[in-house]
Amino acid sequence: MMRRFVLTALTVLSATPVLADDYATRLTAVAYDGAMRANVQGDGHVSATLDGRKLTVKGDFSALPSAATGARLYSGAGIGVPGPALLDLELTGQTDGAFQGSFTLTATQLAALKRGHVYVQINSQKAPEGNLWGWLLPAHPFAGPNVPVEGHGFIPQLDVPGNWTEK
């Protein structure tokens, strides 16, 4: 009986993607329509490391249509779901720049991060409600355009535990 339990536990563990302590995302335009598009251009990258409850975030951005006015962590009800601001990041630069921050997360914030619900958003003068955003997800390699990988590759809800239930 004990042996069966151990085997089952090992099977479950091996079937569950290992949750990396490293997070990353690419910053792309926030949700927009045609009227907003010109003001939400740009690109950026974020990396983050979680050590216990300490989260360290750093990143950069470029080619914003107007000067950045703020960078923050936000959390919503799911991956890809906007929500309220959590924490301010230290911002430098104008249309090109960088940001960083280090925080001790609450249990709620930690849970949100581990479920992929936390995202970085850069606001700018012409897009004060959001210019770029990107969800902090477990760091994963991108093989490159048109380079096949075995299996499904990285699909957030399948590789971030707790976002899909089978009843």
Binding site: G34, G80, N146, H152
Partner: protein, 712 residues
């Protein structure tokens, strides 16, 4: 983000107020009468073909006047509307007009919504709120414009052309297509739009294979009609190719030389960059086409002459058909779109292949008092809309059942249509119909209460695993379904792209559970959905390679915020009534395109790759272990079926859009593919999101490739 939330709430309250209260006190508009007049001419030339000359909209082309327009734009400044149309319009050639023309069109649209011209010309900078200057009440001369047949050349409108039987054919030796040929198609032919009744989109030919495909060469090409939405695929029989062009033009071509054998321009001429002719069908000595005006034709395969024709739906009411046609057991079976709440609802109908006489019709929307009628709550019958069938069905000859998918309910969002999470049958379902009677054998509701324009209408692929007869399909949510096609029982499901609409599934029944905040949605409030209305998976169909048990699936990766309008529950035309704001899908690094292979026995993913541009063709797999697919960025590609490795590419003049096919004549294998423009979300989303991709706004054509001749 709190600021955005505040803005959204404020906007929602404003929009809600507007929807309830209608016209408001207005002040002078920030444009002149001369601008509005000039804008009317420019609108007719560039916008009216899609949005209609009275600005009432059509299908996915939203109304630009009246309550729907005011609900979308009333709370926003004039400048935003101007920026929007300047960035996105005319459809397919965004930004192609000069600034003055965009300003004039803006002035006209404002005046069409009751705004009064003033003394100051609009220069693109006015921040006046639209609801402060416009009422949404359309002046009579705009609501009922005079007929101006020569004044229009809107985006997507085809150039003027002579209609009629422009080249009478004289094909002397034509072998009639028998039912046996359709059940067991010769791999040298491509008789059915997806290659066989099971929709495998697979060729049994192997002359072109993973060892030589890099030698492919262009053999011939053929310019196709411009205008409309070109996303078709040829049908080939005994070396004769039948090709559906936009503007409901059918041609027969010599499949080896590209010589035109006959042509019949049935019309009507395309007026907008929508409404594809996705497929033709052949049976006995006839070619069948369901024209975009919901009219079904049978043409003589040897001459192109119309043998019979019949209306699929009442003419002149805007009904439309884009899904293509199949012939099964002597019946021509077609779907219907753009029913929009008017009676009759959408239906699937069948016609005698020899006479055109209607045999049966199955209505895809359940009215009160009929089976399934209680799944719409209290929604009046004439507000029950959607359930369109814009992809032709498949057929199991042994069971004598035809399988069809249906599109979503309308309005898009639960909160707008007031149906809650009820299933809204038979929207977003698989329907199994008896081919002889049209009787419903079973149905499976994939997405009860669906709320983000995530259709489950696409191809139903029929695959047997030993004695088990399955049906597989994948919709915009990107969930790959496996059903028992004898009884509709749920067997399995897999997620193939990121989706956040559903947070769970009952593995016994296939019932999905919505993300909790989706269930709490309210009108006039933005709510997030991944994938966007472009899918997951959209109309570019899958292929199935039986030898390797691999289904190759073109996937699309984008998300949106969606906002549903308040919709009055009264008789009238039902529109989607939703607004979208798009964004790149989390976890994709900005890659919109994904191609993936799944083993169907156990539904396990075998390989996948991503790229910046989405795929806009179906996949064609072959016995040569090579599969073909094309994309938005003009690349037509061959990959190794078993690994996904790219083996060959060619860059074509414009977006590769349509369905690749393969055929053989005199021992030589050919691959054919179309380039094309137009269509809904799969084409329009990347045109806005991939700013670095520049494709010409014309170039509809057919390209035929083969291996080089051997040097002697």
């Amino acid at each position: 983000m709190r600021a955005l939330a505040t803005l959204i709430v404020t906007a929602a309250v404003t929009a809600g107020f507007w929807a309830v209260n209608g016209a408001a006190q207005t002040s002078e508009g920030p444009f002149t009468q001369a601008q509005a007049q000039a804008g009317r001419t420019a609108y007719a030339a560039n916008c009216g073909g899609c949005h209609q000359q009275n600005l009432s909209g059509s299908g996915d082309q939203v109304p630009l006047a009246g309550t729907t327009f005011m609900a979308s734009w009333g709370r926003r400044p004039v400048k935003e509307f101007y920026d929007d149309i300047r960035a996105n319009m005319p459809y397919g050639r965004a930004g192609s007009l000069d600034a003055v023309t965009y300003q004039n069109i803006t002035a006209f649209i404002l005046s069409a919504n009751g705004a009064k011209p003033g003394t100051k010309a609009f220069d693109g900078t006015s921040t006046a709120r639209i609801s402060a200057i416009a009422t949404g009440q359309v002046p009579a001369d705009i609501a009922n414009p005079p007929q101006r047949p020569n004044a229009e050349s809107a985006a997507g409108r085809a150039p003027a052309m002579k209609l009629g039987h422009t080249l009478v054919g004289n094909i002397k030796e034509y072998r009639p297509v028998t039912e046996e040929m359709l059940v067991h198609p010769d791999p040298n032919d491509w008789l059915i739009y997806r290659g066989n009744y099971q929709a495998w989109s697979h060729s049994g030919l192997s002359q072109i294979n993973d060892g030589n495909v890099e030698q492919l060469q262009l053999k011939w090409s053929w310019a196709m009609n411009e205008g409309g939405q070109n996303s078709t695929g040829p049908t080939v029989h005994d070396g004769i190719m039948f090709l559906a062009n936009t503007s409901n033009t059918v041609q027969a071509l010599d499949a080896v030389t590209g010589e035109l054998l006959w042509e019949n321009r049935l019309g009507p001429v395309a007026t907008r960059a929508y409404s594809a002719l996705r497929s033709l069908a052949v049976f006995e000595d006839k070619v069948y086409i369901n024209a975009t005006d919901a009219r079904l034709y049978a043409l003589d395969a040897k001459t192109g002459k119309a043998v019979w024709q019949t209306d699929i739906a009442p003419p002149g009411k805007g009904f439309n058909e884009t899904g293509g046609v199949i012939v099964a057991h002597g019946k021509v079976i077609v779907g219907l779109t753009l029913c929009r709440g008017q009676m009759p609802h959408c239906y699937i109908s069948a016609y005698d292949a020899r006479t055109g006489k209607r045999a049966w019709a199955f209505t895809t929307i359940a009215d009160k008092g009929t089976p399934g009628g209680d799944t719409w709550g209290d929604v009046p019958n004439d507000m029950r809309a959607g359930g369109e069938t814009w992809i032709a069905g498949t057929y199991d000859p042994e069971l004598n059942i035809t399988y069809w998918g249906t599109a979503q309910a309308k309005p898009w969002m639960q909160s707008s249509r007031r149906s809650g999470t009820a299933a809204t049958l038979y929207a977003n379902s698989t329907l199994a119909l008896d081919v002889d009677t049209g009787k419903l054998k079973w149905y499976f509701s994939h997405a009860p209460g669906e709320t983000f324009d995530l259709d489950e209408v696409f191809e139903r692929v029929l695959i047997d695993h030993g004695a088990q007869k399955t049906l597989m399909t994948i919709g915009k949510a990107g969930i790959l379904w496996k059903l028992d096609r004898t009884n509709g029982k749920f067997l399995d499901a897999r997620q193939t792209v990121f989706q956040n609409v559903y947070d769970g599934i009952n593995k016994k029944t296939g019932e999905l559970s919505f993300r909790p905040d989706v269930l709490k949605q309210k009108t006039n409030t933005w709510i997030s959905a991944c994938p966007s209305a472009a899918g997951g998976h959209d109309w570019p169909p899958t292929s199935y390679d039986q030898k390797h048990d691999l289904m190759l699936i073109p996937l699309d990766q984008s998300c949106n915020l969606m906002l549903g309008h308040d919709v009055a529950q009264h008789t009238g035309v039902v529109n989607p009534e939703g607004e979208e704001r798009v964004f790149f899908m989390p976890g994709t690094d900005g890659n919109m395109g994904r191609l993936a292979a799944y083993r169907t026995a156990d539904m396990k993913p075998v390989w996948s790759f991503q790229q910046r541009s989405p795929f806009l063709t179906g996949v064609l797999s072959t016995d040569g272990n090579v599969a073909f697919v094309g994309d938005y960025d003009r690349v037509f590609r061959a990959v190794q079926t078993t690994t996904g490795k790219t083996l060959w590419t060619v860059r074509l003049p414009t977006t590769v859009q349509g369905n690749p096919v393969s055929f053989s004549v005199k021992g030589k294998q050919y691959i054919a593919i179309t380039t094309g423009l137009g269509g809904g979300s799969p084409f329009s989303k990347p045109s806005g999101m991939l700013g670095e991709v520049h494709n010409p706004d014309h170039g509809h054509a057919l390209y035929v490739f083969a291996l080089p001749e051997k040097l002697n």
